[in-house]
Chain length 92, copies 2
């Protein structure tokens, strides 16, 4: 089944936004930005939290209740965000 | 000791760039973007790979040889990159 980024966005608004931002820009330093990360990376990490292979006090709780479909949708949402990176000016 | 992002950049060019990009934009789908991630997040993950708390076939090997100073420098480099996120156009 094709992933549904719009459904992922809706779920992200309640499950992910507080820490990771709806646009995938993290709101707190301990959380990573998710904007533009690949679906395969995001799905792998959510499934690793769900299985216990990767552990974190918050993410392990959130991920354990996610279905494969929800994981695909969330990953499709965050992948769909475009990011651009700008290097810092070199030291003077 | 203060972290040295320039030293981190030099090290990233040999240790991280192939997968994560020197600018922190991942070159392969299984690797996350690192651009603009916070120092605390990046240091925590590198130390988790080094200790074995987080495991990955490539990162576990790379991280096991890093010193605390190198980890701080690498994290300072990737944190120093600015990112902007642009939401996708809503479906028509």
């Amino acid at each position: 089944m094709a992933a549904d980024p719009a459904a992922g966005k809706t779920m992200a608004a309640t499950q992910c936004q507080t820490c990771h931002g709806l646009d995938g820009i993290a709101q707190i330093p301990i959380a990573p930005h998710l904007a533009g990360e690949s679906r395969i990376y995001l799905e792998t990490q959510l499934k690793a939290f769900r299985s216990g292979k990767r552990q974190h006090e918050i993410m392990s709780l959130i991920a354990k209740n996610l279905t494969d479909e929800e994981i695909s949708n969330l990953a499709a949402w965050y992948e769909s965000i475009n990011i651009t990176a700008t290097l810092p000016d070199p030291p003077k």
